[in-house]
Symmetry: C2
Subunit: 458 residues, 2 copies
């Protein structure tokens, strides 16, 4: 294992250790002194808000010498900043009194029309009235959960699932039941079984939350031939589908798949986003809802933020109408494909026997399983010390699973850095496996449960 030398390294290692020990649960252990005078005032849901244990680590992981395979930040380097600069300047000069003023919670009408054109690429026929613009699709998730979930309601989701969704579900005190995926995505038999068991346990299921395309963090895609079946199972069981599709246009060979929404418009709430196909810092996403749901969604959005930022919506709208945005997405895709190739070949070359991983054909992520005896959360500080970061698996499950899993994001670093990161990770893994063989699994057990999303782990 290659190690950095000198005092900076010592300082760095100490910082990692200190940060790991500084993490505390929000509710103190009984008898433990707590400094928060407001502790007795919080709502019940606030107890479920726990800071990701790896959050502080990410602050360290953002140092330039660390290769971060942890974050899901899109790589924006290919954006035409000069063109955008001119366009946004013009927008403010020409239309500033609109762009800088309150708008409706529903969203800018012209943008909602353009969003319908984008969704048509995946077979969706929608009316702009049924689109609600949100502050990123994270807000869409939050609003949909707000509309449908009482405390104790059950949401079915793939296992693993998007960490930000698990955070929203926890904020509304909904419980998550995971259904396994295989290389072809969510397993229909698993969904049937989970629904039956949950019902048998007397629990109320509100919806299936699913990311059909280029799954975060799973890296797999729901097979086309499973889609109608999934839709049918949800119909039969009278539950709604919440389809989250931020990566659908990022298939590496330009392939797209029919959205679940295109199969059953009345029973699917669809979430879309410009974060991965244009610019995440604008925070523009959307929800396409069945007509009857949409009205309530607008009301919920109003009480959450009054309206999404008008300027940002007009920037996206102008970009879509004046720029070759499909060409830009093609550039992004090629960029990400190059990185996917780099990570898959490096994994093949360096990873010890006993590791396995998914082979994504779109999106940002590889999901990896390590040999028995290695705990990915316990290993993380050692990996960061060896200057490579990843997202450990338990954060992507609501039920404590995932201690032998981890997510590798290949979206942001250069192919060179990705290869170096994988080399470092393989070395760390090998020492962990050595340790496990020699002493058995002496790692502390991971703390389970959903963690909060953060931009580092989207």
């Amino acid at each position: 294992m290659e190690l950095p030398v000198g005092s900076d390294y010592v300082h760095f290692e100490a910082r990692v250790k200190r940060l790991m020990t500084e993490n505390r649960p929000v509710r103190p252990e009984p008898g433990r002194h707590n400094l928060d005078p407001h502790l007795d005032r919080y709502a019940a849901r606030t107890a479920g808000m726990t800071a990701s244990e790896i959050r502080a680590l990410f602050a360290v992981a953002s140092r330039p010498e660390v290769v971060s395979l942890a974050g899901g930040m899109p790589n924006l380097a290919a954006l035409p900043l000069d063109t955008l600069s001119a366009q946004v300047g013009e927008l403010i000069a020409e239309d500033g009194l609109v762009a800088l003023q309150y708008g409706s919670a529903h969203g800018v009408p012209a943008l909602r029309e353009q969003i319908c054109e984008i969704m048509a690429l995946e077979g969706i026929k929608a009316h702009p009235d049924d689109v609600v613009v949100t502050v990123g699709s994270q807000m869409g998730l939050d609003m949909v959960t707000r509309l449908f979930c009482d405390p104790g309601d059950v949401i079915i989701a793939e296992g693993p699932s998007y960490v930000g969704a698990l955070g929203s579900f926890a904020a509304y005190q909904a419980d998550v039941v995971h259904v396994a995926m295989d290389d072809h995505g969510l397993v229909p038999e698993g969904l049937r079984a989970a629904l039956a068991e949950t019902r048998k346990a007397g629990r109320l299921v509100k919806f299936l939350y699913t990311i059909p395309n280029f799954h975060n963090p799973g890296g797999v895609t729901l097979a086309v031939e499973r889609r109608a079946e999934i839709v049918e199972i949800c119909r039969e069981n009278d539950i709604l589908i919440v389809e989250d599709n931020p990566y659908g246009l990022l298939g590496f060979s330009g392939q797209t798949y029919p959205a679940l929404r295109s199969i059953d418009p009345d029973n699917v709430v669809y979430l879309g986003s410009f974060s991965k196909t244009f610019a995440s810092g604008l925070r523009v996403g959307w929800v396409l809802a069945p007509h009857a749901v949409r009205e309530k969604l607008v009301l919920a959005a109003e009480s959450a933020t009054l309206c999404p930022p008008t300027l940002n919506q007009l920037i996206v709208s102008r970009y879509l109408s004046t720029h070759d945005w499909m060409g830009q997405i093609k550039t992004f895709r090629e960029n990400y494909r190059e990185r996917r190739d780099a990570i898959l070949s490096a994994l093949e070359q360096h990873m010890p026997a006993g590791c396995s991983w998914t082979k994504p054909d779109g999106g940002f992520y590889v999901w990896m399983t390590v040999p028995e005896g290695v705990d990915t959360k316990a290993m993380l500080p050692r990996a960061v010390t060896a200057r490579v970061a990843y997202a450990s698996g338990t954060g992507f499950y609501a039920d404590g699973f995932g201690s032998r899993q981890l997510r590798l994001s290949y979206c942001y670093p250069t192919p060179e850095r990705i290869r170096e990161g994988v080399r470092r990770l393989a070395a760390v893994l090998e020492s962990e496996m050595d340790l496990a063989r020699t002493f058995g699994n002496a790692s502390p057990r991971s703390i389970s449960g959903p963690q909060n999303p953060s931009p580092d782990t989207v």
Copy 2:
């Protein structure tokens, strides 16, 4: 009463009537056929989300021939659009990869420092770490309610109160108990009595929500000599204060008042906003929280939107550091003072005897009480038909009060238009009073309860 002539008027009147009858509660009456197949799936809180009955009316009220004294849209005409256009263009060209990328849920550090300088104008000493940037202060309200309120918890608020706050409180199923204001703001004895009674009824009070300066919709300001007393009462009763201060720098003679937060930093959550001092369409607000609360606030914000838009934060930050923003606020203030003068003199000149109203020395609003027998919600369609709009009073109360009250916003129209609007309103009021004298009060009773905020009624 001056009436428009011709077919357009007929069409217009019919539209008003149709819109009024189209308004329906979200939950159907028992036995009534409902077209929403998802009705049984919603969360309990969704039943409390009711569309403002006056929402549809506002669509009509936005026609150019109607003088709208209803909306709280800031008047942005004085903004230096050319300068802003150049600045934002530069920002994207120079720093686009940061501006268009995810940021932290906490907010951009440089902006949080600048926010501390702004709050210092009202006596607040704060550390930038304790500031959390939000998508407008509406999101701050929503997050604070999320952190603290379980269903059935009680929030004490001025009566009337901000419609958007009532919307957020209802979304979390919290109950509101109103405390009266007089010309010097919230009445301390009223607060004491409300706390005692609520406690006696066995209810748990979570916080006092208050808008001390240039109250929306009340138009009054909490007297300086009452401030320490209010803070003390909340301390004694062990409840938090949520201080909402979007208008504090808009005192017409440049006067500012010491924030409640400056008196008791550990027990006040402070909400600020750039919507009224710079640009509402950017949706940049903030929460200054006691240190222990702040960490949870960041977690809540992450699960709500991941992070506020980076671009918008950098725009505000650059504007604050390169522009004479205090001079700009002075321009806004003068603009609003001229309009306040126009409305007060027109009210004095035209309103029939028996009407009374507040005399704001800052902010956007006049709060008016009409004679017995006139119902302001029932009168609204007639007012809109006479081409003047206002916000009727019941929306600003959670308890059904307010049917003899209305809010007049003088922030947006020209002084000329304001005078014309008041003339029209006075004429409508006189016919209503005539009717009431002749036939008694034949108006239908208003439906009470909080209504959803909308950008039309902020």
